[in-house]
Amino acid sequence: MRVWIVDDKMTETEARAFVPQPHDLAVSTHHDDDFADRLDEAWDLILVDENLGEDPGATPRIFDGSSLVGWLRAEARRSGRQLPGVAIFTTQPDLFDKEVPAVGPARPLGGSFVGREAYLAPVLDVEWLLAKGGDRAKLVAQIAALAQAHETARAALGSNGATFEEFMTFLGLPADAAWYEAARSSLERARPPISEAATGDDAFRGPVSAVRWLLQDTLPFPGAFLSDTHVAARLGVTVATLGRLVHDPAEQWSQDLRRCIYEGPAAALFGRRWWAAGVVDASLALRVAVRSGADVRSALKTLSGVEKVAMSNDKDPVAIVDRDLLDSGIAGAASCVQLRPRGWPPQSEEPWMLIADAASAPWFRHMVDPSDQKLLDAPAA
C-alpha cells in the first residue's frame, strides 16, 4: 500500500508513526518542486493536512487542505487522472464546525467531525476525514484501512468498469455462507456503483467510486450491513449479550453468527459491522426454535451454548439514534418515532429516535414519519 501525506510541517520520520514500514510513504507540501511528479505516481491514499499555515489572500489560491482537494479534483478532471482516496488529516477536528453535513438537519456541525466523518466527507468532496489526535494505534489502523480499501478496489474492479460480481469480490462476501444469495440480494438493493462494460476510459473516479459508496452510503447506515445495536435489537438481546454470543463460540449457531461479522474493506473505520443477510439467517434459526415451543432466552442459550443471556426488556426493540443521528442504543418502538432524515440513503432502514429527542427541536419534528407525528405532543405514557 502507498500513502502520500501532504503536510506543511510533518517530517517523514513523524509520518512513519502513522504509516509504518513496509508500506510506501511520501511526505511533501504543495510547494515542493516534485509535487507534479508525486501526482503522477500511483497512490492508494492521499492524506491532506487541513491547516497548511497560509492565509486565504485576496485572490484565489490554495491555502488549506480543503482548497488543495479542490485543486486536486480540478487537475484530475483536466488531465483525466484518477485520484486515489483523498482524506483530510488534521489535528483540529472542529475546524469544520460551521459546515452543514450531508446527512441530518441542515445545521452546522457545531463541533468535532469525529464519529460523523461519513456525514461530512461528501460536503468536502473527500472520501474520509481523520483526526490526528487520540488513540494512535486506532488511527494507524484507520489509515491502513482506507489505503487498503482502495488497493482492494483497484485489484477487484480493475480498470474496465465494475461488475456486480467484482463488487462481491471487493467486499469479501463469503461464497460458502448459507446466506450468500440473500447477501447478494441485499447488495443489489444497496445500489452499488456498477459501471459494467464501460467502454473506453474507465469512469472518472475509477475504483474510488466503490470505496466512497462503501464509506459514505453503505457501512454507516443500516441496510446490507448492521451495527451491533441493530443486530442486538433483531435478536432481542442486549449489546453486551451479543458480544458474549460470538466471543468464544462453542455451538454451530454462534460460529455461524460470528461469520456474519464484516471483515472486508474499511471495516476498521467503523464500529463492528455485520452482514445483515447472515443476521437474518441466524435470527430465523432462533424464530424456528421459538415456534417449536421454547422461549427466546432458552432457545438462545441452547443454540449458542452461552449461559449468561440478557434479553432486551423492550417490546418490539429497535436500534435508536441520538441527535447527531449516530447509534445510541436500543429502545422499545413504542417510545420512539421513525425519522426520514435529509440525506439518509433511501436504500437504508430509516432510523428511530426517542420521542423526547425528536420533540426537542423543530428540525427533528419535520423529519418524523407522518404517522408518528401525533406522538410528539402526546403526553408521556
Binding site: 440473500a182 440480494s185 408518528d372
Partner: protein, 227 residues
C-alpha cells in the same frame, strides 16, 4: 393442492404493503410484517435444507375503525391479523410452494368483545382423510359453532387477505393510501391481479366438471402458479 409463488416478490410486496398501511396499523406493528418478509426471503435464499413455516411472530393489530359501514358512526372495532403458511422448496431457484396454511382475522370491539373471527385456508382440496367430507383448496370460513359453511375463496395469499381487511375497515382511507403509494404498490397490485385470475381459473376449471358445486371441493389437477 399446492400453490407456487416467488418468495422474493411476495416479501417485497409485503414490505411495501406494511409501509403503506402503517398509519392504519397499531403502532410499530408494521415492523412485524417487515420481519415476516425478511424471514421468508432469508429462508428461501439460504442454502440450508428444510421446509419453512412462514408466520408472523406475533399477530398484528389494526387501529380502531368506525368507518367500516361507510359512515363514521359504527361501533369502534379493531382487527387482529396473523397467518401461517407451510412452505417448501421447488427445483426452481425463484419459486417456492405452499402446501397448506391459514390466515386468521379476529375482529374485536374496543370494549373487548370479540365480534367476528374468520380465516382463509389453503389445503389439499378434495376428500379429507378418506372421509366423505371435502374441502375446497382455498376457502374462507367463520369460526362458529360448526365447521361449515366453507366458502371457496379466490383470495388466498396472506398479503391479499390483509389488504382486503384494510379495505373493509377503511373503505375511504385505504384507497387514499393506495393512491398516495401508487408507485410503491404498483407491482403488488399487478401481482395480485395475476393471483386472483389464476385462482379463479382453477375454480373455473373445477366448475366445468359434472356436479359443479361438489366439484369446487375437488383437488385441482396441478399446482397453481400465483405469479
Amino acid at each position: 393442492m399446492t400453490v407456487l409463488f416467488k418468495p422474493r416478490i411476495v416479501a417485497e410486496e409485503l414490505r411495501r404493503l406494511a409501509e403503506s398501511s402503517r398509519h392504519l396499523l397499531n403502532r410499530n406493528h408494521h415492523l412485524r410484517l417487515g420481519n415476516a418478509a425478511e424471514q421468508l426471503e432469508g429462508w428461501f435464499q439460504s442454502s440450508r435444507p428444510g421446509d419453512f413455516e412462514w408466520a408472523l411472530d406475533e399477530p398484528i393489530q389494526t387501529e380502531p375503525s368506525t368507518s367500516y359501514q361507510g359512515s363514521d358512526n359504527a361501533a369502534e372495532v379493531t382487527a387482529s391479523f396473523t397467518f401461517l403458511w407451510r412452505c417448501e422448496r421447488t427445483g426452481n431457484t425463484e419459486v417456492a410452494m405452499a402446501v397448506g396454511g391459514g390466515t386468521n382475522v379476529v375482529v374485536t370491539r374496543t370494549t373487548g368483545t370479540r365480534v367476528n373471527n374468520y380465516h382463509f385456508d389453503l389445503c389439499a382440496g378434495g376428500a379429507v382423510e378418506g372421509s366423505p367430507v371435502m374441502h375446497s383448496f382455498s376457502h374462507a370460513q367463520y369460526s362458529a359453532g360448526t365447521s361449515f359453511p366453507r366458502f371457496p375463496s379466490i383470495i388466498l395469499l396472506p398479503t391479499d387477505v390483509l389488504e382486503m381487511l384494510l379495505f373493509e375497515l377503511w373503505p375511504s382511507d385505504w384507497p387514499e393510501a393506495i393512491d398516495a403509494a401508487r408507485n410503491s404498490l404498483m407491482r403488488h397490485h399487478l401481482g395480485q391481479r395475476k393471483r386472483l385470475v389464476r385462482v379463479t381459473r382453477a375454480f373455473q376449471n373445477l366448475a366445468t366438471r359434472p356436479f359443479p358445486v361438489v366439484s369446487l371441493q375437488s383437488r385441482p389437477p396441478a399446482p397453481i402458479p400465483l405469479f
